[in-house]
């Protein structure tokens, strides 16, 4: 942890890990600042994990708490799994940022404030009667004040920019301060600025670099901080790495899958937070033959995806919970017509419009059951930003092999969060098999609902194929022929076939991995985006000598086939979820295990400490109470 020594001029402090949070007005360039510092950290060889957090309003009133945007980075010499609970360093550009974030700063941590942001009006907007810098509010922190705005304008004076434009560089000035604090030069960030403004403006490039260097020099010459700290670099296997967010990873996974399956990628969608970035990523890839289009509404997006799948494309739609609600009927149609469609739900706080920019895991039961009739689909959930690549590919693979809709449950936290990803070699990616018809020539009559005996999938025969003209639709089908059928026993058989087809996929997915010993006192079972926090908590608990292991489900329907055995091997099961206990319901119902819950619905991810505390509680209970 970052500790500032009391005496000045002390030598550099060496740390294994540091957490920094930038906070300011939405217009202060906080997200860009955080992104550049993260990229710099990753390039220096740290493991990183990031958490951006921004207001739902595009331009919330400046200076208000509602308008505060923040970006947290955890960088470390060890493998880390989360952006960290509490920052060691908080950079606050105005009083509202202090107000919104000071309580999460670790006691004894470092607070850097922009003194110029603290005029009377700004204090009032933040709801401060007295100046928190003067009234003792900040006494338990190391506070470093710098007139950032003034100094920034001063530093770029030579360029004769308009005052407003000059002031826009203040995020770079702060970044300069922080670079010095963490004992790194500004070269890398200057190169990023160069790239950023290469096409745009020579003058802005110069201004940003000047402000950056000025900040660095200010920290050095004024001895603003008592010492520098240096975070050690992490051991990483050699290769090319890329910092990417979950949404970008998802987009790349889809493109890769389309290429491996040699199918046209059709992404049919409607804009919705926090999923739209997948569309933005894919829309850039027209030159790779990707078709990403926006329809008139969520229903149309799903309908178009079904139509595209019917035409033989790799059809994908992306949305969030409210969009899934609208798509449900058409998802049922894809189940009935057994067409491969991938539905991405980047979950956010609900119900209804809920918390659009905040994370939650409360759409699991919606994905499982949110349709009329017995309507099983495959449900997958990536457990980290980079895992979105793998699981997006997996969703496509299963959809096309088994001719079924597949849900991919991402969430706002991993979709916007980022981490390093070791870029895979394309020739090492898994090969794809789609469900082409086994044969049609030898059959006198083509049977659109005949089944592959191994997968139970029906053939993917697309319009344009001569001799196999047939009709499908939402009405119940006769087994084999696909003719409309009201026959009671046929209906029951078809319901069971659709169920068995999904259940059988358990044979085609990896078994659940347990981290820690494979049997013992406590298993922490999670799913999807909570993977990092759970893993970090369990690592800490194990280091304290507690008998605890964890496993993260990335396959929710069907479950991995060893789940029963895994559950069985532990005295107790704890299921932390960012909802009111949806996985717990499924596990209890299916395995009759009395799993305990740790549930949080605040629109925020788990802190490692919250899970650790629960683990400690459970491990302290006398074992007898468990049975």
């Amino acid at each position: 942890m970052l500790q500032e020594p009391k005496d000045k001029h002390s030598p550099n402090t060496h740390l294994s890990q540091a957490i920094i949070r930038f906070a300011g007005d939405s217009g202060d360039g906080i997200q860009a600042t955080g992104a550049m510092f993260s990229h710099n950290s990753a390039a220096l060889g740290h493991d990183i994990s990031t958490l951006p957090d921004y207001p739902a309003e595009i331009r919330a009133p400046a200076g208000t708490i509602a308008g505060v945007s923040s970006f947290q980075l955890n960088f470390s010499s060890r493998r880390i799994h989360t952006p960290g609970d509490r920052p060691d360093v908080l950079v606050a550009m105005n009083p509202a940022a202090v107000k919104a974030h000071i309580s999460s700063l670790r006691p004894g941590g470092t607070l850097i404030v922009n003194d110029d942001g603290f005029d009377e009006q700004a204090l009032k907007l933040a709801g401060y009667d007295k100046d928190p810098r003067e009234d003792g509010t900040l006494d338990s922190y190391h506070v470093h004040r710098a007139p950032v705005s003034t100094m920034t304008v001063e530093s770029v004076k030579a360029l004769q920019l308009a005052p407003q434009q000059a002031a826009l560089c203040k995020n770079m000035y702060t970044l300069g301060l922080v670079c010095w604090l963490f004992d790194r030069d500004t070269d890398f960030i200057e190169a990023l600025v160069e790239q950023r403004f290469a096409q745009e403006s020579e003058v802005l490039r110069e201004a940003n670099c000047m402000a950056l260097r000025a900040g660095y020099n200010f920290a050095e010459t004024t001895e603003m901080f008592s010492s520098q700290c240096r975070v050690e670099t992490a051991e990483q296997s050699p290769g090319l790495y890329r910092r990417l967010s979950g949404n970008t990873a998802t987009a790349l996974g889809l493109v890769a899958a389309a290429q491996l399956a040699q199918r046209q990628l059709m992404y049919c969608t409607y804009p919705i937070t926090p999923a739209s970035d997948i569309l933005h990523e894919l829309a850039k890839l027209r030159h790779m033959g990707v078709i990403a289009g926006q329809t008139e509404d969520e229903i149309a997006a799903m309908g178009a995806a079904v139509g595209a799948a019917y035409g033989g494309s790799l059809a994908v739609t992306g949305t969030s919970g409210p969009g899934v609600a609208l798509k449900s009927e058409a998802i049922g149609l894809a189940v009935m017509t057994e067409l491969p469609v991938v539905i991405i739900n980047v979950q956010r706080g609900g119900p209804s419009t809920g918390l659009p920019t905040k994370t939650e895991q409360s759409d699991l039961l919606q994905a499982m059951y949110g349709r009329n009739g017995e309507c099983p689909v495959v449900v997958l959930a990536p457990d980290s930003p980079a895992d979105c690549f793998t699981m997006a590919m997996e969703a496509c693979r299963l959809a096309m092999k088994y001719m079924t809709p597949v849900f991919l449950l991402s969430d706002g936290y991993i979709a916007n969060g980022s981490e390093p990803w070791q870029v895979p070699r394309v020739d090492q990616l898994p090969q794809f098999r789609t469900n082409e018809p086994v044969c049609s020539e030898t059959q006198s009559q083509f049977l659109p609902y005949s089944r592959n005996p191994e997968t139970l999938a029906r053939p993917w025969v697309v319009p344009g194929t001569p001799g196999t003209e047939h009709r499908i639709g939402g009405l119940e089908k006769q087994d084999g022929t696909g003719h409309v059928s009201q026959d009671p026993l046929n209906h029951e058989q078809m319901v069971q076939l659709r169920e068995q087809k999904i259940a059988g996929i358990a044979e085609d997915i990896p078994e659940l991995d347990v981290f820690g010993s494979s049997a013992g006192r406590l298993l922490v079972l999670g799913w999807g985006g909570t993977g990092g926090a759970i893993r970090a908590a369990v690592e800490e608990a194990q280091a304290k000598g507690l008998d605890v292991a964890c496993a993260q489900l990335r396959y929710l329907n069907p479950f991995p086939k060893n789940l029963a055995a895994v559950l069985d091997a532990f005295d107790q099961v704890l299921i932390p979820e960012l909802n009111r206990g949806q996985l717990r319901q499924l596990v209890r119902a299916q395995y009759l295990v009395d799993a305990q819950g740790l549930n949080k619905v605040q629109g925020q991810p788990f802190h490692t400490s919250e899970i650790l505390e629960k683990i400690e509680n459970l491990c302290q209970q006398p074992s007898e109470a468990v049975a």
Binding site: R243, L285, R286, G311, E469, G473
Partner: protein, 347 residues
């Protein structure tokens, strides 16, 4: 379709387009006639558009009319209520060489699916939309529909419906549809002609077909389908021909000084005062005014209202893809994965 490579289109017969399923509409339903006329013109359509049968797809929503695809021996998709245009969108963009038809009804297209219809038309997606308008909900057994007349008494409106009806073709014109036409189930020649023209049209074509539901709304269109009255009550639209109608062709639709349409005897006006029908008028108030003409004050216009040449949606999408491919060097998947915020960890 690649025009430089002529496909070897077989010569089809009407029977080639009939599936092995027996239609299950009520005896006497107007749908039978529409199915028969469509099957009759399909061989010619296949030949003229060089479209083999396997490239034809019929997509429908829900309602009596939406059973249609089951009876066509082409590819077919009986989807969900109101959403057929959305499936057509995904299919046509993914496979522009197909000839996609949407079969829908007044409830399906104008009530639950109104949004999709409007957007399908304004995009100019290359689909042929056959809208069977019977002014009633048939499959759910007789409730008023969005085209039912004000005051219509049905099971769900025992005291009469209190909403004004929608006019499908006015909506189509306002949505910038490039082909807009009307036909009547009991006028086979007109039906065949209009359907063929719709099929030959490149872009969104919508054909409103007056269809008699003899069970729940019998005779809704008697004024235009009864042999003895139909010539006096319909205005057959012909490109380049005057807006003249009547058994003796002695009546005309003209505009008065306030640009309001009215009916006059041809004997009362000079030939130069006659309005000439022009299907190539874009954004025309006159075409819209024609779509608003209602019986009994006016004759019901039938035939083609508008037929415009315009690029289709899928053409534009694929043009962008091809243009982007031309401008940017082909990016291999590996290159794409390797781009972005990257760094290398050395051995």
């Amino acid at each position: 379709m690649n025009q430089t490579e002529p496909l070897n289109i077989p010569t089809y017969q009407k029977e080639d387009f009939a599936s092995d399923q027996t239609p299950r509409w009520c005896p006497g339903c107007g749908d039978y006639s529409i199915l028969a006329q469509l099957q009759r013109v399909m061989p010619a359509i296949a030949e003229q558009t060089q479209t083999p049968r396997e490239n034809m797809v019929f997509i429908s929503g829900i309602g009596c009319s939406s059973r249609f695809p089951y009876y066509m021996n082409t590819y077919g998709f009986h989807s969900i209520h109101g959403r057929a245009p959305t499936l057509a969108l995904g299919l046509q963009v993914s496979r522009p060489e197909l000839m996609t038809w949407v079969v829908t009804g007044d409830g399906d297209a104008l009530s639950i699916g109104g949004n999709h219809l409007m957007h399908c038309l304004r995009r100019n997606l290359n689909v042929k939309i056959l809208l069977f308008n019977n002014r009633i909900y048939g499959l759910t057994k007789g409730q008023y529909s969005p085209t039912s007349e004000l005051g219509k008494r049905t099971k769900s409106s025992p005291l009469g419906s209190v909403a004004r009806p929608l006019n499908p073709l006015s909506i189509a014109l306002a949505s910038q549809a490039t082909f807009v036409a009307r036909a009547v189930d009991r006028d086979p020649k007109l039906l065949q002609d209009v359907i063929t023209q719709a099929a030959l049209h490149k872009g969104s074509a919508i054909v409103e077909i007056y269809q008699n539901c003899n069970i729940f709304n019998d005779g809704a269109f008697a004024h235009v389908s009864e042999r003895k009255s139909r010539d006096d009550n319909t205005l057959k639209l012909q490109h380049g021909e005057p807006l003249v109608f009547g058994r003796q062709r002695d009546k005309a639709v003209v505009l008065n000084e306030q640009l309001q349409p009215r009916v006059v005897a041809t004997s009362e006006i000079s030939e130069s005062d006659l309005l000439i029908h022009d299907t190539s008028r874009d954004n025309s108030g006159l075409t819209y005014a024609l779509s608003q003409l209602q019986y009994p004050e006016f004759p019901v216009p039938v035939g083609i209202f508008r037929a415009l040449k315009a690029p289709t949606y899928e053409e534009r999408v694929h043009q962008q893809v091809n243009e982007a491919k031309r401008q940017k060097p082909a990016t291999a998947l590996q290159q794409l994965l390797d781009s972005g915020e990257t760094w290398r960890v050395a051995e």
